[in-house]
Symmetry: C2
């Protein structure tokens, strides 16, 4: 991670970085690596990991189409609450359906939502199979498994496409940081968060008394 061309002081506005892609594509790995870099540089971050949320907020939901839709809706709403609280939110969620991702994006102001397609090919994800889920899915034990028995609808215009079969983690993180920094320069968040939520504002305005 030391090679990352990091200019952390330039990443300061609340954003949602939404990692979408197949199971095993590397979404959580990238979210956690990015969080480490941002947090180590004083950014206030939060990872919303689809798998973990299914043990908490979304533990009442299964994997039917309707439940997947609701799963994504809730994660989007929580991300919105967190961005309003001034956090940089990193979401790792398969979120296979284009329509659901579109709805989530609409919750946010222009420039706040950054869609990262972790585009690692199915065959690589299946070879990795970190949780043994592909094996189960191929054996018919997992109905509605994305990429096998349920579709993954490719993002049409993601802000970034990262194939972890070809890019090392630190390079992926560097590309996201570059994008975040560019966003900060070009697209201030749309009137959000209110000034009272922005920790940077207080650091600048209040610590000198």
């Amino acid at each position: 991670m030391n090679k990352t061309p990091l200019a952390p002081q330039k990443v300061r506005l609340p954003r949602v970085v939404w990692f979408t892609g197949l199971s095993g594509a590397g979404k959580s790995t990238l979210a956690n690596a990015l969080e480490k870099v941002l947090a180590a540089n004083g950014m206030h971050t939060c990872v919303l990991d689809g798998d973990k949320l299914r043990h908490g907020l979304n533990r009442d939901l299964g994997y039917s189409h309707a439940e997947r839709v609701e799963n994504i809706r809730r994660v989007g709403e929580v991300a919105k609450l967190m961005i309003d609280a001034g956090l940089i939110v990193l979401v790792a969620l398969i979120s296979p359906f284009r329509e659901d991702r579109r709805k989530v994006r609409e919750l946010f102001g222009p420039g706040e939502f950054i869609e990262v397609h972790v585009s690692t090919p199915l065959e690589v994800c299946e070879r990795r199979d970190p949780k043994g889920l592909y094996r189960k899915a191929r054996a018919g034990e997992m109905p509605d498994f994305t990429g096998i028995s349920s579709p993954y609808e490719l993002p049409e215009a993601p802000q970034l496409e990262l194939d972890t079969a070809h890019l090392p983690v630190h390079e992926c993180v560097a590309r996201i940081l570059t994008l975040l920094q560019a966003r900060d320069r070009e697209q201030p968040t749309a009137g959000k968060p209110p000034p009272t939520y922005n920790p940077g504002w207080f650091v600048a305005g209040r610590t000198d008394k």
Copy 2:
């Protein structure tokens, strides 16, 4: 608010302050006033307001017993995510059932969860009736309305009881701040948030390079 005996530097650990009480008791008023003071002193806070959440995360839920239970469960889970991200979370939610509040409390480490009973009497809340809901409830137009047609189960051992019919807002806020400061001294949060989430840690360790 200027009279508040505030020592903000002593409130620094993530906590959930959970305001429970009747509709119109003053929960949101207190949560928002407390947030202003904490935020103005550089604390990173978030208000989870039950009414507002019903337009977002919980907009699929009605007011039946099961839906109220689910409503409270979700707010608890979101508060937990936020406390893990290092925020001070202020929840304003009627949360009428003792059992639900107990379940929520169990999500948190010792000392992290602070139950504030906003104990303004029913007759005062009904006289205020800021949203005209009591009038509707009395007219039979609101089934399951807490205090009228659905019970409010009194907290047995809240950390604080505040009757806004007798205490002005700034005095209520001062008492909560005093409690938060005492908690910081006596009860460090139970191993949470992990150090990497604590902005104070980074401010101390990283800004000098």
